[in-house]
Symmetry: D3
Subunit: 132 residues, 6 copies
């Protein structure tokens, strides 16, 4: 539905804008541990023994079982960018669902909705900047 | 307050609509594990050695200590439909509060608000379709 | 197996002894908040709008989804004492398993083992003193 | 930004109003365990062997690693009132971030945003009534 | 150290024996939801859009961030059997560590110890039967 | 009791030895993210805007509400070394207990037992090397 997509589009934009603004804001503070943690978080998903795609899938399932919507959305966008197909995405969800149970279902609904929306609005699929 | 109730009424409707639409959407995918999990989730709360009312109370306290608002709302509605009185509801909340601590309080506030609203708008108390 | 039961018997005894000794030890401290919390924990499972049996079942499923073996064992013993049949016990486990997923399975194995052992050694089924 | 601050101002007010209204609502019920728990929650942060400031910092880091936005906001306001500086606040966040990982980052963004807003709108920094 | 390896060897054997005995024991009960959940857990990691190796890596990181030693050990053994190298294993651990924080470290120590031991005692690396 | 203390003494020694051996073992791997995380974990508790004693108290309450015995023991030892009195220790426990509920009690029992033992065996109170 054009309306729904438009609405979500806006929500994705707001979410991305808030994330970037607050990440910048947090890093303005003279706190070296926080800054290093953010740098480590970015480094964590770089190509290594495991490729980016695999690492993003790991980040997604970890976020799902810990039930963090923002983290799930972030890694859904990253996974999509790294070439994870929808069928593969569902299998990541399936592992998260079996491991962590029905408590995951509300997050799954929001994750599939988010995925539908970024697929409907290609410009939105550019993943927000790391970290988190 | 008529206004508040009207507003919540709308929120309950939106929540129910989103849940149903996304459950349908999720099950459209050809993923047998996810489909079977959803079927199992429905089967889980059927009458057995324990009656539906008891099982819904178990689902409610489990959702509360795991701090999932959507799941709590769902089971609050189901419990009410199964004949759980408000006094009993409070004792379920009491167990969740003692077991999982003050971290549960924000969810308790939203649960009691939800319960107040579905009691004020009888047509809304028809529980949304399972699962989750 | 007589040997296994003897061994478990000993483990249940040690567990019960440690629990009682440390509860006493904790309450020796002049900390009113901790003391009141322990009193509240005991009060929580008393007969009320819900009967003891139901409350113990709620305590059990909450402990299971939060994955605390000591708490699970405690409430398994309390449930048994309150008249929960094995078939009902399995349905409590079933709700915990569906809500919180396969991560619960290792705790389920230990819970069923504990249940088997207290059924094999009737004198052990006297539940350890509350709280926790 | 005046607009953003005005908007947040409103959100803080709504949040505070909802919290107070629902706390009152919950305590209207004749449930002694719930009432005692709320009283204990208030007592918990009073001056003792540890001063209020330290206890509020403990409450903040506990809320952060358990990832409860409402609880984090509450303790951020309480900490500020108890004299925690921004530099100290960041070090509390740093401990929470290292202990509980990147899953905390979305909550950190909202906590820093909340802190910015209550600093920009001094009248809002009066902490909402306990508990939770 | 031969001694340590022998000792661990024994612990792995005990762990595997307990797991298998209790899985069998659990499935003896006439509880269809539990049985179906166990079947679903096995089905979940079968070859699909994602290959077994990837799914086992997802299961491992999910178990690590949820901090379940038994589940971590199980998936470490499964990953190794599926051809995950030690370097890849460390990158799975790295994602779990960054996502869920230092609270994961004690589990990481036990996971690396377990991995060392199954590498030192090849016959032990045959993964225990699913599920869990 | 001399016997109990001797036994615990041994357990503390084994725990410390295992921790140090496995930390060394983990850091032997060429994984820069893991190494940097461990360094960050050590840096996190250094003197800063907040003093070491306060940071260790934050680490302790965070470990307690996340229910990690090894982390709790580590921070109990660190707190003691930093001059936290037993009365203060109990107030940290009190905050953890109220925030995270009765599920914390088994960890509290083990924490108080650990504290008793390190007080009875002064040489054991030298805290194990960071991190974790």
């Amino acid at each position: 539905m054009a309306d729904g997509a438009g609405h979500m589009n806006e929500r994705i934009q707001q979410f991305t804008e808030f994330r970037q603004r607050m990440n910048t804001r947090i890093l303005e503070h003279e706190n070296q541990v926080v800054r290093r943690f953010f740098a480590l978080d970015t480094q964590c998903y770089k190509d290594g023994a495991l490729e980016v795609k695999t690492k993003e899938m790991l980040g997604l399932v970890a976020s799902l079982v810990l039930r963090c919507d923002d983290c799930v959305n972030y890694h859904v966008a990253q996974c999509r960018q790294a070439g994870v197909s929808r069928e593969e995405m569902l299998e990541i969800f399936q592992v998260g669902l079996v491991v962590a149970g029905s408590i995951v279902i509300p997050h799954l609904r929001r994750a599939v909705d988010f995925l539908d929306q970024i697929e409907a609005t290609p410009e939105a699929s550019a993943p927000p900047q790391a970290p988190g």
